[in-house]
């Protein structure tokens, strides 16, 4: 019974540099943590319940970031990076999970920008999944998951094995300090390459063409506040929403 947490496996738009012609340049060396990663790590620590917590990541993942938050070791596929095909990313992660003896529970962030990643990981593993989770705990031989969608809160029980995708409900409140980060550097990292896992070493899917969106920018009013609000009210009346 081993808990696995996947981290640094989703790209956040804030990390992208977008050029005037619509070209997108992503970080090539290290990805910043995704919006939900810290919440997934916190949930995974709870689920590991003092037992082993194995981190899995891809080539742009930062093992120190995860080790400082509770992973006991990290397995990284160093020559695979995140692309836009969530199933391809998930296939690599599933191969990494298969390397972890006794893995029966995988936790990861439920990325808004890669909504197919967690379910595709479940698909590649052949496990069920619980998505959009807020919190999870081990109960007996299974897990109990809480999730809130709109105005409905559900408690879901699931037998193992299962993939749980966590949505962060806030920012990280107490990130690890410098001492913890330094200690985390000493925790073991097992680097593999795709061929070690019988994965076909294919480049990540990227678009053949990009362009800026054609939608018109907002009509902005600035300058004197009285004048600006007057123009806004006039515009909203013409829209029929006042």
């Amino acid at each position: 019974m081993t808990t696995v947490v996947a981290f640094n496996v989703a790209r956040e738009p804030a990390a992208a540099r977008i050029l005037a012609d619509g070209s997108v340049i992503w970080p090539t060396r290290k990805l910043p943590p995704a919006e939900d990663d810290h919440a997934a790590l916190s949930a995974a620590v709870v689920l590991a319940d003092g037992g082993e917590l194995v981190g899995v990541t891809l080539g742009q993942g930062d093992p120190v970031w995860a080790a400082a938050r509770g992973t006991t070791r990290v397995l990284r596929i160093s020559d695979v990076v995140v692309g836009d095909d969530d199933s391809a990313t998930a296939a690599a992660l599933a191969a990494a999970v298969a390397e972890v003896d006794g893995a029966d529970l995988v936790v990861l962030g439920d990325s808004e920008h890669h909504p197919g990643l967690a379910p595709a990981l479940a698909g590649h593993l052949g496990w069920p999944c619980v998505l959009a989770a807020a919190a999870a705990a081990r109960v007996g031989e299974g897990v109990e998951v809480t999730r809130r969608i709109g105005g409905v809160e559900e408690t879901i029980s699931a037998r193992l094995p299962v993939v749980i995708a966590i949505v962060a409900e806030g920012e990280e409140t107490s990130p690890p300090g410098m001492k913890t980060m330094l200690t985390a550097r000493r925790l073991p990292v097992h680097d593999l390459v795709a061929t070690d896992l019988a994965l076909e070493p294919v480049p990540p899917l990227e678009p053949v063409q990009t362009r800026p969106p054609s939608s018109a920018a907002a009509r902005l009013f600035d300058g004197d506040p009285q004048q600006a609000v007057g123009e806004l009210i006039k515009a909203l009346r013409s829209e029929g929403v006042l």
Binding site: P115, P128, R148, G151, T210, A218, F221
Partner: protein
């Protein structure tokens, strides 16, 4: 060449149909109650396959069964929205099962012979990207309001539900906050300096006849408003005629909760704030000047 499929687990999922290839007959896979299955019987759908979940079993628990049924037809294209967890679970199982590319934010697909051209938003919607990938394709599409007319002649065929390792053991519905049905909503973010200043924004909301809402940090981290007042991916998702965003940066998490608004107005002192990219109108200025001015101007009529 295999079939084209639409996965429906949410009432808005049928709006994905117009994103698919025109003139190609589509088979629908519905996981939900009878009303949802019947809502998928629309023009353009050849047949509806329907799994009705057992009591206490979440729809996503049937992802494997739905995927297996679709895989048996050697699918060419399977589409769903990313609105509900169950649709995503089905597409994840399918993509893994047939080696399909799985893309999200899709707005259009085009048959290009042995490949499919896929267009959609990338980098959080800041660019429009086109991909050329081999069939089959699993596409998480952006829902459209363009829903085809009902077609009572479409066959709705039930499928047997299977045992599930996942169960809902408790379900609690929050008291309605009034946000869901509000015609106008004023949302406030961290541009507000103190809890006491909420009265300023509340005054504007009252003058507009609007409900007051907020970003996640104001409810979760600061506790200035109840949790049922925060808008966003993990909060309330609304569709008012007017959404006025005051002192909000326009974080993607928040914007996902207000995408259904007819008209969005941003008020922010930073002309480069992300909220203006999602807005129809905006005022660049200090909310502490703009909000009182707007309230007074509305009071004058």
């Amino acid at each position: 060449m295999g079939e084209d499929w639409l996965v429906v687990t949410d009432s808005q999922d049928v709006g994905a149909l117009s994103r698919l290839l025109p003139d190609a007959p589509v088979t629908a896979m519905v996981i939900g109650d009878r009303a949802l299955a019947e809502s998928a019987a629309v023009a353009g759908v050849a047949v509806v396959h329907w799994i009705e979940p057992d009591e206490g079993v979440p729809a996503e628990a049937y992802a494997g069964a739905a995927a297996a049924s679709i895989l048996a037809s050697s699918p060419r294209l399977v589409a769903a929205t990313a609105l509900g967890p169950a649709s995503r679970a089905v597409l994840g199982a399918l993509a893994a099962g047939c080696g399909a590319t799985l893309l999200s934010g899709v707005t259009a697909v085009r048959d290009a012979g042995d490949r499919v051209e896929v267009t959609g938003g990338a980098a959080g919607g800041d660019v429009v990207a086109t991909y050329a990938v081999p069939w089959p394709l699993c596409a998480l599409v952006v829902p459209s309001d363009d829903v085809p007319a009902p077609d009572p002649s479409v066959l709705v065929a039930p499928l047997a539900a299977t045992d599930s390792p996942v169960r809902v053991t408790a379900r609690r519905v929050s008291q309605p906050s009034g946000l869901a049905d509000a015609a106008r909503v004023v949302g406030v973010g961290r541009g507000l300096r103190s809890k006491a200043d909420l009265d300023l924004v509340r005054g504007l909301a009252d003058r507009l006849g609007a409900e007051l809402a907020c970003s996640m940090p104001l409810a979760d981290d600061l506790g200035w408003l109840p949790r049922d007042r925060f808008l966003g991916r993990s909060g309330q998702q609304i569709s008012p005629r007017l959404y006025l965003a005051v002192g909000l940066s326009g974080a993607p998490q928040h914007l996902q909760g207000v995408r259904g608004a007819k008209v969005i107005v941003g008020i922010n002192s930073d002309p480069g704030a992300g909220i203006f990219r999602a807005s129809d109108y905006g005022i660049v200025g200090d909310l502490y000047e703009i909000v009182p001015a707007l309230t007074e101007a509305l009071a004058r009529g």
